[in-house]
């Protein structure tokens, strides 16, 4: 089989002007009347025309320009056909050539074959065996196999990055759930294979597409548990989760602390607390109680005087709502935020029971429980001012509370003597 090297029909035609080419018979009739055979394999455009069910090409012109335009157009159709044989035939294709006066100067005559009229039906056709002699340099085959074997993780992931970037440029596809999930999966795959840089790059480049991932529990947990960062990697690793809503993260932490993602959740929350402190504080102050209980422990090192008013308001709310477990936590936060002010305000609460009763609108029994909770908070957060506060408080209270305060004072004394 001669694989053709001849592409420029015009060069041949100018030396050998023809009036007709019969494609099936592979004969050419020249202008001088001679008929000769030609090897259609050597003329790709005629081979293509034969494949398109044309039987004969008739030339009615001498104009090189027209011949050239026609042959280049046919060659272009061939290229389109090679690239997409399934749908190239749907495009409008002008097989003939016309001169400036609209006269038909090159005619492609079709074989008379009726088109398939039935809807496109297909059965499993015979796929020919591939057992003819291969005739390929063994070294070339080895090179291809080696190329497959060497398709390492990085190569595969870089390929995916290209795909995702092309998707972003594509004007037809819109951001959708499925693309979000795909981006998430590729990030997770990157992390599972130790490619932290790639994961971070994808997460940053496509952060606007990750919303559906964060809503998908299994994918979210997969991402979290995919990689356990070392201390010097946490900042980079945490950037993968930059777009995860805080609320989602906190709920995940609450439900999955004992799961395989637990250690990573702790690392992520610690990092997020450090880098987004104010955001977490605002979130915590407005969150439901069980989330507040979870979050306050993360925030304890970060309270400052500027947070005091909000914290005190939160304490009063907990007192009003009988959230006894929250009271010590708020007290702890208040003391860390502004110890002097905290002790002063708590002392006022103890001294002005009527204030507390009016606040909570409940019985003295409740008031007693609340006050004990307040003391509990102080007990858990011993500071320089704790002992002097308790000593000031002791004379102003009676009963169980007084006993409790006495014990606290004694305990602090013993501690300071050690």
């Amino acid at each position: 089989m001669a694989l053709s090297l001849k592409n420029r029909f015009l060069d041949f035609w100018q030396d050998n002007p023809a009036i007709s080419l019969k494609l099936s018979e592979e004969t050419v009739i020249f202008k001088n009347g001679k008929t000769e055979s030609f090897c259609i394999d050597e003329w790709p455009i005629f081979l293509f025309l034969k494949g398109e069910q044309f039987s004969e090409i008739i030339f009615r012109t001498d104009q090189a320009r027209l011949i050239d335009e026609w042959s280049q157009r046919i060659d272009h159709y061939q290229q389109l056909y090679i690239e997409d044989p399934e749908y190239a035939g749907l495009e409008e294709r002008e097989w003939n050539e016309y001169d400036d006066g609209g006269n038909l100067v090159i005619e492609c005559k079709s074989l008379e074959i009726s088109a398939q009229k039935k809807p496109r039906k297909r059965k499993m056709i015979h796929v020919p065996p591939m057992e003819a002699p291969l005739r390929i340099d063994p070294a070339a085959i080895l090179a291809i196999k080696k190329e497959i074997e060497e398709q390492n993780t990085q190569a595969t992931l870089q390929r995916m990055i290209s795909i995702l970037n092309e998707f972003r440029r594509d004007s037809i596809s819109e951001v959708s759930v499925k693309w979000s999930l795909l981006v998430g999966d590729i990030i997770a795959t990157s992390l599972e294979n130790g490619a932290l840089d790639i994961a971070r790059q994808i997460a940053e480049d496509h952060r606007d597409k990750l919303s559906s991932v964060w809503l998908d529990t299994s994918r979210r947990l997969r991402l979290l548990s995919a990689y356990d960062p070392k201390a010097n990697e946490i900042a980079d690793w945490a950037r993968v989760f930059e777009s995860c809503p805080l609320d989602t993260l906190v709920h995940t932490l609450e439900k999955n602390l004992s799961s395989s993602a637990g250690p990573q959740l702790i690392k992520l929350m610690s990092f997020r607390t450090k880098t987004h402190t104010e955001e977490l504080i605002q979130y915590t102050l407005l969150a439901e109680v069980k989330m507040q209980k979870l979050m306050l422990q993360w925030l304890s090192p970060y309270w400052q005087p500027k947070h005091y008013t909000l914290l005190f308001k939160a304490l009063l709310t907990s007192l009003k709502n009988e959230e006894l477990e929250m009271i010590p936590l708020w007290v702890s936060a208040l003391i860390r935020s502004s110890p002097g002010e905290a002790f002063s305000n708590i002392e006022t609460i103890f001294q002005t029971k009527s204030f507390l009763n009016r606040l909570v609108g409940r019985s003295s029994q409740f008031t007693g429980r609340s006050l004990k909770s307040l003391l509990g908070g102080i007990e858990e957060n011993v500071t320089v001012g704790s002992l002097s506060f308790l000593k000031r408080l002791r004379p102003k209270i009676e009963g169980d509370l007084a006993d409790h305060v006495e014990k606290m004072i004694n305990s602090l004394h013993r501690r300071s003597e050690k």
């Binding site: 053709s4 690239e83 088109a115 398939q116 995916m160 994918r219």
Partner: protein, 278 residues
């Protein structure tokens, strides 16, 4: 349907069901959506795996290649059926939708199942099989990288199968002509080594081709043996059921001049091949 699917796939690649459950599920979606695309995917897989076996890929590569081929048109699940089966010119919008199917392939898979590294590798062909060897195809990639060898094989198999399939608006191209046309894409559309291997392993006239000899006889290409020239296979005369080995010296004057459509002569090629096999 699951049993048929497993049967169809096991005829092509040797793999257990459970490690590839997600892939089977994806293939089932294709079958459910469009039978034509499903059968085309099976054929592309047969051709791709056939080439892989000739190149002596190991079993793991064969399985990966097989799945890459089986799922290469997964993105067509997102092309409306009326566009997929259209027999007239596409509008610009329809064309854009059709051209987006490689891009949609990966996303479609992730809807069914989380992807892993192995799956991403197998799905590369779904994205790359229209990109061309010289990366001038689609989807356009702005950062150039070499196309995965599986994608390069699938591109060849996909083109050959599409060319040699009848359509409502167009008759198929005969296999030998298809190979010659594809040869115009050496090094541009197709990987030259892989295309050459594909052509030579099929032979210039693939088994099952109806050919006309220079003495006007019709014959069916039956086989090639290891001493056969590319265009001189063993053929079986249609009228006189006699086998002729064109590579033998005594037959050197006999040549194949053209290929023909069997249906134009009411010849059932499958029957001819089966009776010879008996």
């Amino acid at each position: 349907m699951k049993a048929r699917l497993i049967n169809d796939v096991s005829g092509i690649i040797n793999c257990e069901y459970s490690p590839f459950e997600a892939e089977f599920e994806a293939l089932a979606e294709i079958k459910e959506y469009d039978e034509y695309t499903y059968l085309h995917s099976l054929n592309v897989a047969r051709l791709s795996v056939g080439l892989g076996k000739r190149l002596e890929f190991n079993n793991e590569m064969i399985v990966d290649l097989g799945w890459a081929a089986l799922l290469h048109d997964l993105g067509k699940l997102k092309v409306p059926i009326d566009i997929l089966n259209k027999a007239t010119k596409f509008s610009p919008e329809e064309k854009a939708i059709m051209l987006s199917h490689p891009l949609e392939s990966l996303a479609v898979f992730s809807e069914l199942q989380s992807v892993s590294l192995d799956r991403l590798r197998r799905l590369s062909a779904a994205f790359e099989h229209h990109q061309r060897f010289d990366l001038k195809g689609y989807p356009i990639v702005h950062k150039k990288h070499s196309i995965h060898p599986y994608s390069r094989i699938v591109a060849i198999a996909d083109t050959f199968d599409a060319m040699t399939t009848d359509r409502i608006y167009q008759r198929r191209t005969l296999p030998d002509v298809a190979l010659k046309i594809m040869a115009q894409g050496f090094g541009s559309v197709f990987d030259p080594i892989l295309l050459q291997a594909f052509i030579t392993s099929l032979g210039a006239y693939p088994v099952g081709t109806l050919v006309r000899l220079n003495d006007e006889r019709l014959a069916v290409v039956m086989n090639y043996h290891d001493k056969s020239e590319l265009d001189r296979p063993i053929v079986m005369g249609v009228e006189y059921q006699k086998e002729i080995d064109l590579s033998k010296t005594e037959n050197k004057e006999i040549k194949i001049v053209s290929s023909e459509f069997p249906e134009d002569y009411d010849i059932n090629i499958d029957e001819v091949l089966e009776s010879n096999a008996r």
